[in-house]
């Protein structure tokens, strides 16, 4: 196994996780459950392909993809913040809605029930192994940037306060609702970038192409104990397990099914509290009056 090809492949696999997990961290730190990452990613992926297809420019695709994630995030925010719906129930609904909506528009715009036509993407130089893609570099820096936002800016301080003790934040004049709207919107846009990367990297949209990556990202958020950097490291760990599984295909030393289980097994171990106890933001998922 070539270590350089292992690392480059791992990073490419990790990018969608890194975007989505960063989005998950910011929403959950504000107290909103992020079961929706999968739906945000999927809508972002489709909107990116749509935008790229009609403009010919992947940059327009990035913008439309982010917009797609934002729209779904706002639906989620209005339902859970304004109408105080249960965040888990709405989250599941958002994910199902994203599958249905993308499938519907796939049929409408591209007359297909499985995939879009090929669209433009970034980079493509075979010698660069995907590292000539600006989205990849954005994905690499997104976690440190979000760590800065959460720990070093007034917005981040408010996000943390709102997710831990919304009454305290409200009592000093911080609008809990406004902070949560902003956090969910940011989360939708970040997660959408994960989907955008995925779609443009494959130069097309395929039905349900995110294939559970949003849920892996949520696991990384929990595994990383709601810290952007630790969550990013968890993303890399999961990506490494996946890379290992791909590279071990064909070798019969370990059945690949077992290797495929590694990320999920890690999540269960993490949630069971083996690797330090995960203490979520105190107000996570709580419906505010």
């Amino acid at each position: 196994m070539n270590p350089i090809s292992f690392v480059t492949q791992m990073i490419r696999i990790a990018i969608p996780y890194l975007f989505a997990a960063s989005g998950g961290v910011v929403a959950e730190r504000a107290g909103i459950v992020s079961l929706t990452l999968e739906g945000f990613m999927l809508s972002g992926a489709f909107a990116a392909v749509l935008g790229t297809n009609y403009s010919g420019s992947p940059w327009v695709g990035v913008l439309s993809g982010v917009l797609g994630g934002l729209i779904f995030a706002l639906i989620h925010a209005v339902a859970t913040i304004r109408y105080r719906a249960d965040q888990v129930v709405v989250g599941v609904a958002i994910n199902l809605l994203a599958i249905g909506v993308t499938r519907f528009f796939l049929k409408l715009f591209f007359a297909s029930s499985s995939n879009s036509p090929r669209v433009a993407g970034f980079g493509g130089n075979i010698n660069m192994a995907g590292f000539d893609n600006p989205l990849l570099w954005l994905g690499i820096i997104v976690a440190p940037v979000m760590a800065f936002v959460i720990y070093k800016t007034p917005f981040g301080l408010r996000v943390r306060a709102v997710g831990e003790h919304p009454d305290a934040a409200e009592s000093v004049g911080v609008s809990v609702k406004r902070v949560r709207y902003a956090a969910v919107a940011l989360s939708g846009m970040l997660a959408a970038l994960g989907g955008v990367y995925l779609a443009l990297d494959q130069h097309q949209f395929t039905d349900q192409m995110t294939a559970g990556r949003g849920f892996i990202a949520i696991s990384a958020v929990i595994f990383g104990r709601w810290d952007p950097i630790r969550a990013a490291l968890a993303c890399l760990l999961f990506a490494a397990a996946e890379t290992l599984q791909i590279q071990l295909q064909g070798s019969h030393a370990i059945p690949s099914q077992f290797i495929e289980m590694i990320p999920y097994a890690l999540v269960i171990i993490a949630l069971a509290g083996v690797v330090g106890r995960a203490i979520p933001p105190a107000a996570l998922g709580r419906v505010e009056d």
């Binding site: 007034p154 917005f155 301080l157 943390r160 306060a161 003790h165 305290a168 009592s171 000093v172």
Partner: protein
Amino acid sequence: MISGAAPKSASVVPAIRMDGIDKSFGAIRANRGASVEVMPGEIHALVGENGAGKSTLMRILGGLMKPDSGHVEVNGRDVTGWSTNEAIAAGIGIVHQHFMLVPTLSVAENLVLGAEPKTRGIVLDYKHAADDVRKLSNETGLVIAPERLISDLSVGEAQRVEILKVLFRGARILVLDEPTAVLSPPEVRELWTVLRRLRDKGDTIVLITHRLDEVVEISNTITVMRAGQTVARVKTSATTPAEIARLMVGREVSLSAGKRVQPSGRPTGPPDKGLEARSLIVMGSRGIRVIDGVSFTVRPGEIFGIAGVEGNGQTELIEALAGLRPVFAGEILIDGADITRRSVAQRHDAGLSHIPEDRQRRGLILEYTVANNLILGVQKHFSSRGIIDSTRVMENAMQEISSFDIRPPNPVLTARSLSGGNQQKVVVAREMGREFSVLLASQPTRGVDVGAIEFIHQQLLDARAQGKAILLVSAELNEVLALSDRVAVMYRGKFAVVMPAAEASEEVLGEYMIGTKKGNTA
């Protein structure tokens, strides 16, 4: 002196003037034409029983809710129905009873939240924030390190941060809601010093409390509330605790928390009966010893009181004794029988009764009727072949309602619809209405009005006279002192001292409560 509207002072504009305030929550009228007038530079006590409408009135002042009718003036300006931010901007600072601090943030972060200093446009300026906190600390004498996490602070320190927080926002009118409820006596004295210092530099302070000794000690003027109305406004120097109590309750009340039936130190029941704990060790949720080698006995006919600042292991001790928390090491005996590994139900059968500290969480099922709450845990005595006999349940309810004076006397109301005091009476009725030899009474009068306190205290004393062994845990030091034969002080999971109540005083116990003194625990 007794009037709806407060008298108008001729020359000085009141710092706060609230006039004819009405506020309803559904069918409950929290404020009914309440009027308060607070002069600048005074400490004004707002007293009344729980549910009298004090907090509602102050929440209206702070812009947290809007009055249905009535006027609010601050420094002569009509500010009726203003917002939280407007109130903060006008210098109103409310120190809430339940701390409004984010436990995972530092002191400085909590202080600047909502008004953060910035550098380069978007970056939070931590250094600036910490410097501001230190400066304010020095000015006020409220010393606290800005970088400490709130979750690492003691309750007294957290309260210091609360006060700093409102001062940081430029508050000149401070409202403190039951500030001493969670403090030890030395911390209370420290708070008084701070409040006097603030008053002397011209700040106005409103103190919400139901503790009369505090009112008399610290305030200049008193407004008494009862059932949503302001019933009196008096100069502190011109009144007495007895008069204030009468105004609060609307009738004469006995202020000493129950009389001793017998002097302490009298011979108690046989030593092998009652409750005994031997070298008890209990682990907390974080894997540390929250109870670290505690031994004691409570004999029949004795009340053994445990005092201490909350969070020193009292909750866990009671839970371990009641069977709600596993015992790591040591033994628990009831009437000589080892029950350490017994279930809650088996302990009940062995004669253990338990009045839990949190009636809403552990004591009652709020959605159940009073009648059903009264048979929780003893339901098998009210059923035959697995079916509950509702006639007997109702008979039992009517009997307990009358003997424990539960109001309103309606067994089919849900527990939720009762006042705190009456909810507590339901718990007390259930736990003391059945056969028992040992009673764990944890915060038995917390959040209960003066009348119900009197009643519950009498129940405890009666049970003691009947030869029950009673373990009393209370945050109210005077309650522990008045009822107990012997008292212990819990400090960091151990008994700092055990002594006859006759030799104890608030001052003496206070020293042990904050750990400055250690003593004999035999």
